[in-house]
């Protein structure tokens, strides 16, 4: 078990070091072989561990090394192994392996490959460190490591200015979230005296009724703590407010988008909330807020996805929206449902992204759907994969999304308070929108007239085998992961399967059971909504293709509002970015130079000017004498005083 877990976590890292810093940097084939071998080892090890969880489940912490110990603050490098982390190992490693393989076919310039592959492995390793952490600070290590790797990968084509800007935006927006997370860790430590998960969970009861005063207002400790940590999750998981980096992250190569969206980055926030479920269970207000933010994000992102023209952006907003679903589930205390949707989503979202990559690859880097169309017969395999992915995303039975998304919507129904109701109706409505934008994408890309230029179109070919195989594997997961895992994740075996890695307070413990006994109409309403979405998409984009244009003209303000993603970027630019730049200029040029430098130390600045004017007479060599004279004077003063 020790060897297996070390393999599962560290083999990508070893591969990354060998390729990134070793002699392999210039040897392309070997570099590819090493990184893929590292991923294969990690993936196999994770599945062995995963299968063991069914027969002889483990729940243990494996200390590796002491990290630091200062005052009351003790930290180890350790691996926490339980069902939650092992499930995450499988998700992360599977998707990452597929992305590694796919990239070999996707990246045009072979000389870029070693750097690219080593970054991908680094990304994977950071995520594995994050999910296997046994304390908050190691989690934070992985958390920031993921941020770093995404920064490097989004800005991979650094000659492009837009890629650079997107990379910085991703890192900085994430940093804003990270600061919230770091402060949350501080609060946890100040309160519990430890950052170790097991020790925190042992004393969460003390949170009950605890209050703290901040800025003269009394707050419930549990809620403040949970909200600070959740701000971190909002950054990583691109929830409304801190989501602006995610669509721009499309500047990276498409395999990176698949990795970010499916497994290694945006899921971190959801994972963290689930990992800390004992703590979040104490924070009732914070959980309600999480549900609302999740619902708002799901709705916002779906509306933005409806009108985007960039194929990757549509899928990017779709991720954002699905993450909203996951947080809705977590906010309603359905952590296992949240993890279930995370798992199924990883498969079908990676599938969708890599299929989109295949389209882009076939069209020589064209991403605008208005210049696509009619590709159905040219790239049939990709077309098929896109259908599988979309069916899973929209939640048609028996595809994976059906099981996980339905469970979230049913959860909303079961929880009868306001957040539950909001979650329930938003869930159904967003399911409708999801189907609508998914098939809009399919019809615009694959059906109708050919809109690509003659030159591009004549070169269209389906992807090579090295890109198709990963698609097939992922399609397999997108179809089957739901039906195979449903019983263990959200069914009767759920409690036994997850053991103590997920925690639900006693008064809500029976909720999971109740989602299996909801009325028929609740069970089928999301499917009906999705079917409706599909039909409308068919009507609008396959039959009456002039309609969308007319609708857009008719409701122009709403269309523009959605197209510009609710104007978040413009708002932030006006409220934060521009004033900050101006403030920086002002504080330096006016305040620092004019006021502080010349004002505060009295006349000293002028004295300096005077002294230096005097020294014009003194040649540089003689500065010696002057300096010695000055210090000599001071020494004289000392000895005079000593007398």
């Amino acid at each position: 078990m020790t060897t297996l877990s070390l393999l599962a976590v560290f083999s990508p890292f070893v591969a990354c070091l060998m390729v990134g810093f070793g002699a392999l940097y210039t040897r392309r084939r070997l570099a590819v072989a090493v990184t893929i071998a590292g991923m294969v080892a990690a993936t196999v090890a994770s599945y062995v561990l995963f299968l063991q969880q069914f027969t002889a489940p483990i729940e243990t912490t494996m200390p590796l090394l002491q990290w630091f110990h200062v005052g009351d603050f003790t930290l180890n490098w350790a691996l926490r192994l339980d069902t939650l982390s092992i499930v995450m190992f499988c998700v992360v490693n599977t998707v990452s392996l597929m992305v590694h393989v796919y990239s070999v076919g996707y990246m045009h310039h072979p000389e870029e490959l070693p750097r690219f592959m080593s970054y991908l492995s680094l990304f994977t390793f950071a995520m594995l460190m994050l999910v296997s952490a046994d304390n908050l600070v190691q989690l934070f290590f992985g958390w920031e490591g993921v941020g770093l790797a995404s920064y490097l990968l989004i800005g991979f084509w650094f000659q492009r200015d837009s890629a650079n800007k997107a990379a910085i935006k991703a890192f900085v927006v994430n940093r804003v979230g990270d600061v919230g997370f770091a402060l949350g860790i501080c609060f946890v430590f100040a309160f519990f005296g430890t950052v170790q998960f097991s020790e925190i969970f042992a004393q969460v009861e003390t949170l009950d009724g605890a209050k703290t005063t901040f800025l003269g207002i009394e707050w419930a400790v549990a809620d403040v703590m949970a909200m600070l940590l959740f701000i971190g999750a909002m950054g990583k998981s691109a929830q409304l407010g801190l989501h602006t980096w995610l669509p721009d992250a499309m500047e990276g190569p498409t395999p990176v988008s698949a990795l970010i969206h499916a497994a290694t980055m945006v899921t971190a926030g959801v994972f963290m909330v689930c990992r800390l479920s004992p703590l979040f269970e104490q924070a009732d207000v914070a959980r309600d807020i999480i549900t609302y933010i999740g619902a708002a994000t799901a709705l916002f992102a779906a509306t933005a996805a409806l009108v985007q023209n960039d194929i990757k952006r549509v899928i990017a907003y779709s991720t954002c929206s699905q993450l909203g679903y996951m947080f809705m589930a977590a906010g309603l205390s359905f952590y296992s449902v949240s993890i279930f949707h995370l798992t199924t989503h990883a498969f079908f979202k990676a599938l969708l992204f890599l299929s989109a990559g295949s389209v882009i690859h076939a069209l020589q880097d064209e991403q605008d759907m208005r210049k696509m169309g009619g590709l159905r017969s040219m790239i049939p395999l990709t077309y098929f994969m896109m259908w599988v992915g979309s069916l899973a995303l929209a939640g048609f039975p028996p595809f994976a999304g059906f099981y996980s998304k339905d469970a979230i919507i049913e959860a909303g129904y079961v929880v009868s308070n306001l957040p539950g109701t909001v979650g329930f109706y938003t869930g159904i409505f967003v399911a409708f929108l999801t189907a609508l934008y998914s098939w809009r994408l399919i019809y615009m890309t694959f059906h109708g007239d050919v809109r690509a230029s003659e030159k591009v179109f004549s070169h269209v070919n389906d992807a090579p085998l090295v890109m198709i195989i990963p698609l097939m594997v992922l399609a397999f997961g997108a179809v089957l992961s739901g039906v195979l895992l449903a019983d263990y994740f959200i069914g009767e075996s759920s409690h036994a399967f997850f053991g103590s890695s997920l925690f639900v307070a006693a008064e809500r413990a029976d909720l999971l059971e109740r989602i299996h006994h909801v009325p028929k109409w609740v069970k089928w309403s999301p499917v009906v909504a999705s079917a409706l979405g599909l039909i409308i998409a068919y009507m609008l984009y396959a039959r009456k293709t002039t309609m969308p244009q007319r609708i857009a003209t008719q409701f122009r303000p709403i269309y523009l509002f959605f197209l510009n993603k609710w104007y978040f970027d413009e708002l932030y630019d006006a409220v934060f970015v521009k004033p900050m730049k101006q403030f920086a200029k002002w504080i330096w040029q006016v305040f620092d130079t004019k006021i502080v430098d010349e004002g505060i130390p009295g006349t000293s600045s002028k004295t300096v000017a005077l002294a230096s004017r005097l020294s014009v007479y003194i040649q540089t060599g003689k500065l010696y004498h002057y300096a010695f004279a000055m210090v000599g004077g001071v020494l004289l003063l000392v000895f005079l005083l000593l007398q």
């Binding site: 703290t212 504080i587 330096w588 014009v616």
Partner: protein, 528 residues
């Protein structure tokens, strides 16, 4: 018999520097090699001291005592504990690096330069190892002379102005410190630092003494608003001067706080804690914004130092082990990382003869190795976990949160702003790429030479080592802090672990107290 290792560490570069004077000034190569040898041997001596240093002993080690001035309590006494150990090592490591960095970039008067550097090394090590307050003052001041020369002789266009500004600011502060030291001697009848730490000064007197020390250490650190000499000094100083200035000299202020203000004047330190908190938080935010506005590579790094030093001062007065250890750790880390960043500035200045950020670009393409190093040190400066920058910042944050969550939030904003200005810099100089035709027109520049790699690589290893196995460094520091009553006595009562006590820490720095101290200084600025 034990070797007088500290005297050797101070004496060797001193004697070496004097010997260098007799060499003929036209023998540049011989002088360079001798300087490098002397500083390298001193580095080995430092390493040997570290090897022999007993990490389980929190007290002073390698103590040497000798009567010095008759009829006074002034002694020549040196010793090293867990706090000073790493500052001495920092001086030992950075001096040979500076010699290497100046190899070709200092074109004239190499002899004087070598002498100045060796004297500087001796006085820096002296400052961190002496155990007598008068002697401390002498070494503290002695550092100024070679530094003044280095800026004034080998600096840029405005070197004379910058040198005087540096000299006058620090000198004025130091005079007040000298008065405080003499008053302490008169009152306590001793100049021994250890004895002074155990002496209990009258509370009213403490206030005045504290202000005397504060004047000196605040300028040296530098704290807002007396930081303005720093950007000027950095921009004008040659690369080696900036490296030493940022790497070691700035730490003398923090070291002074931890040796004098905190243990000798605990009541006054507690009284002034809100002031320090306010000035530090301002420094973090203000320094970061100033860094954001810079078009000059070197000035940007200089202002980032102001922001990082804000973390140090707030941590020193944080009142718990985590914060104080974090502050010292941050000083060591900043000594390595900012020194490396100044070396990066120097490397590019040697090639392009400019520090204007908008005149430098495409480095990712033309100097890939340099680009990787610059990105690495920028990330360390941002405080990415796994690098040294994270440990210090995070410990300070944890410690400050314990005493005042509000201030923790304020200084945490520095983490975001730091990422903004560093990444913005990296984007402009490394990633922004000119087109091929334009690149072909430029004078070609070479990637890092072996000499440069030789000093960057060890710094990278130290940065990672400090980030991944911080215990090597934090353990001696923490032990000495624990044994020296640096953390004020009342702290034990304040420790918050139980929920019902959680409101207690905020009382120290309740908002109304916090905003009060900076007000007079702000008024001062507006009236003038």
């Amino acid at each position: 018999m034990d070797w007088p290792i500290l005297s050797l560490l101070i004496g060797f570069p001193l004697v070496g520097g004097l010997l260098l004077m007799v060499l003929p000034s036209n023998e540049d190569r011989l002088i360079k090699i001798s300087t490098l040898w002397i500083s390298s041997v001193n580095l080995l001596l430092g390493a040997w001291m570290w090897w022999r240093f007993d990490t389980s002993n929190p007290g002073l080690q390698f103590v040497e005592r000798m009567p010095w001035i008759p009829n006074t309590p002034i002694e020549y006494s040196v010793g090293v504990d867990g706090i000073s150990l790493f500052f001495i090592l920092l001086a030992c490591v950075l001096t040979p690096i500076c010699v290497l960095a100046s190899w070709n970039s200092i074109k004239e008067k190499w002899k004087s330069f070598g002498v100045a550097f060796l004297l500087l090394e001796a006085s820096m090590i002296g400052t961190f190892s002496v155990q007598d307050s008068i002697l401390f003052y002498l070494f503290f001041e002695a550092v100024l002379i070679p530094m003044f020369m280095i800026i004034g002789i080998w600096g840029g266009k405005n070197r004379v102005y910058a040198a005087y500004k540096f000299f006058l600011y620090t000198l004025i502060g130091s005079v007040l410190m000298l008065i405080a030291i003499i008053v302490m001697w008169q009152v306590a009848g001793t100049t021994d630092i250890q004895k002074l730490q155990n002496f209990e000064f009258d509370e009213n007197l403490q206030i005045w003494l504290w202000l005397g020390f504060f004047a000196s250490f605040a300028v040296k650190t530098p704290m807002w608003p007396v930081h303005t000499w720093l950007p000027d000094a950095h921009v004008q100083a040659p690369t080696a001067g900036s490296v030493i200035l940022a790497g070691v000299l700035l730490k003398m202020g923090g070291y002074g706080f931890i040796r004098f203000s905190l243990p000798m004047l605990p009541e006054a330190s507690e009284f002034f804690t809100p002031l320090i908190y306010a000035l530090s938080a301002i420094a973090v935010v203000y320094g970061s914004f100033c860094a954001l506005a810079q078009d000059d590579f070197k000035k940007l790094v200089a202002y980032s130092s102001v922001a990082h030093m804000g973390f140090v001062t707030i941590g020193l007065f944080g009142g718990n082990t985590e914060a104080v250890t974090g502050a010292v750790y941050q000083m060591i880390s900043h000594g390595v990382v900012s020194a490396a960043l100044f070396l990066c500035v120097g490397a590019i200045y040697d090639r392009r003869h400019t520090r204007q950020i908008n005149e430098i670009d495409s480095l990712g393409k033309v100097m890939p190795r340099y680009a990787r190093y610059l990105v690495f040190f920028s990330l360390a400066s941002i405080g990415l976990p796994g690098t040294s920058g994270f440990i210090g910042e995070f410990l300070v944050l944890i410690g400050v949160w314990k005493s005042s969550p509000l201030f923790a939030i304020l200084i945490a904003s520095g983490m975001v702003l730091g990422a903004v200005y560093m990444l913005y810099l990296v984007q402009r100089v490394v990633f922004k790429t000119a087109n091929n035709a334009e690149l072909a027109n430029r004078r070609p520049i070479t990637d890092l030479s072996l000499r440069e790699i030789a000093y960057f690589v060890p710094l990278i290893w130290v940065t990672l080592w400090m980030g991944i196995f911080p215990s090597t460094f934090s353990k001696p520091v923490e032990q000495s802090i624990a044994s020296e009553q640096i953390i004020a006595k009342q702290i034990t009562a304040e420790q918050i672990t139980a929920p019902e006590q959680i409101t207690a820490p905020e009382q120290i720095t309740a908002p109304e107290q916090i905003t009060a101290p900076p007000a007079p200084s702000l008024q001062l600025t507006t009236t003038e």
